[in-house]
Symmetry: C2
Subunit: 337 residues, 2 copies
């Protein structure tokens, strides 16, 4: 009785918690339209990665994995549901780790498994694949953007610090001058990333932080270039609604690059495909075939379209799975599906 056409190949570029909500929406929208996720690949930011004592965390990968597996803590908004903090309390008692960065026991277990496999020499992408096999992710394949270590350092007026220190410990308050992903100019996309982009029918840019989540993905040499020549239509979703960030502190990141916290400014920073854009590492390539903004920003749409970026007004609040799926559906429609 299922006569749905085959699902297209979808790629999503995503950061952590917000990206995860969007990816769940895409998976749900694909189920509605085609009865399954089909070939849905998420390319995740790894700039947030960090060592916390002996634990290797990949916050965006971990958030995506937990959400896709349905084991995320939806009340607290991060980590595993029903987690405890026994190990963390011990680390604090020993004076180890970051006292301002709390990890649950189940979170620590995953970061420990990762640390152990890194010690054995496994690449990050293989480790993500191993961790993913633990659960049924509903057909979604999760890829790190690169196997290289390109942790974001924040150069602030108070000195340079790891992104997590700036973000979690200092609540993004030290004024950021720039973000530095170290050796990213010599990093390679992880295995599967370029192939997924080349095979995609649509590429969706999640409403994640454009500077420290989507930014590092596009800064891995080869990714922006393959998006520029991909046959897929590329559709972005604004992380800014009515001049405010929906979650996190993206405004603190935007000010480092002189971009206003506004849906039009962020859209133009990504840039229209085939036109100038500021978003690849050499500031050459525009990214987007279409840009979704909220009803609160409807007044910005004509100007954006006039500027060469086709802009669609859509319901951007992902308050529950159904609304996230509605947003994802609008993005798929904007991609011509």
């Amino acid at each position: 009785m299922n006569s749905s056409p085959p699902a297209p190949s979808i790629v999503v570029l995503a950061g952590g918690v917000g990206g995860a909500k969007f990816v769940l929406g895409v998976r749900e929208a694909a189920r509605r339209r085609w009865g399954g996720a089909g070939a849905l690949t998420v390319i995740a930011n790894t700039g947030d990665d960090a060592w916390v004592s002996g634990v290797r965390i990949q916050p965006d990968i971990d958030s995506l994995l937990y959400a896709l597996a349905g084991v995320n803590d939806t009340v607290r908004g991060w980590g595993r549901a029903d987690d405890t903090e026994r190990v963390n309390a011990e680390l604090v008692a020993f004076g180890a780790g970051w006292p301002w960065f709390t990890l649950g026991d189940l979170d620590i277990a995953m970061g420990l498994a990762r640390a152990g496999w890194l010690r054995e020499g496994l690449p990050v992408s293989e480790i993500v694949a191993r961790l993913s096999r633990r659960w049924d992710l509903g057909g979604v394949r999760l890829l790190p953007m690169t196997d290289a270590t390109v942790e974001t350092q924040v150069v602030t007026v108070d000195g340079t610090m790891h992104f997590q220190e700036w973000w979690v410990r200092h609540r993004a308050e030290p004024y950021p001058l720039r973000f530095d992903n170290g050796p990213i100019a010599s990093a390679a996309p992880a295995p599967g990333v370029i192939d997924a982009i080349a095979a995609a029918d649509v590429v969706l840019v999640a409403p994640s932080n454009p500077i420290v989540s989507i930014g590092p993905i596009l800064a891995v040499p080869g990714i922006a270039e393959s998006l520029a020549i991909a046959r897929a239509r590329v559709v972005g979703v604004s992380p800014i609604i009515g001049g405010n960030v929906v979650r996190g502190m993206a405004d603190a990141c935007l000010k480092a690059v002189g971009t206003p916290t506004a849906a039009d400014a962020v859209g133009l920073r990504y840039g229209a495909r085939g036109r100038f854009g500021a978003y690849d590492r050499d500031a050459r390539l525009g990214l987007l075939d279409a840009w979704l903004v909220a009803e609160e920003d409807a007044a910005l749409a004509p100007g954006l379209s006039d500027a060469g970026l086709p802009t669609i007004v859509a319901p951007l609040w992902m308050s529950d799975l159904s609304l996230s799926a509605d947003l994802a559906d609008a993005a798929l429609t904007a991609a011509g599906l």
Copy 2:
């Protein structure tokens, strides 16, 4: 009202669980005699060290630390009291680590703190000092034998494997041909080790496994040599009672070196000080000024003394702290204190 003379400087060479019982006895005996532990230094074996997934364990150091701090699990005989295994269950679910090697959450926390500090480049001895500061150890200073990584590999008829794999996974069953501590010939004693031996009034060799616990300590270049010229008297306690090992599987280790499981054979393998001994890495230096054997082995004492190793019969069963202290007291007496 305390007019005890000052406590002497005592050094104990020790392995893990059995070594910890003996060290507690020495601390208690020193309290009885001198009102405190004085300068009591434990030089611990690190040949059992291992990575379990991302956790760095030092089983002998950990057992000594837990016992000295009074947080050890005395029922189970290893690990921390009131521990849980939440993280371990997760590691198993991910297929990480060794499924035959279970670690408690509190154990994992300490091994994680250690792994984190190793990543930061701290030497093992500094890490042991940091971990020791967590608790009141009653005046005992715990030193690893070396900062170098010299994990014991067991060459067996079934192939070469890590000591923990041979011991825990295979119950020491594959016939051992020899034990190999890798680069130990170029290892240096940890800071403080040689100074403690030189300053000691007495050196006690705990009734630990003579091959894989005491053996690696004496194989670190400089330790056997400094013992040979130390002003301290060196007193050993037999780990064999009535032809049986008191705990563990020391007999499985002894057969690799062709030494019978007997109090006289082990004593002569350590050797009389100033005479030939098999125990340093070049099989040159005898270790002991005196050797304590159990009442069950009293018949062996005259022959040992005739062979040049002064042998004393003492109560060797460490069934409780009071008996362990009695044994330690006998060892101190044998050292002329």
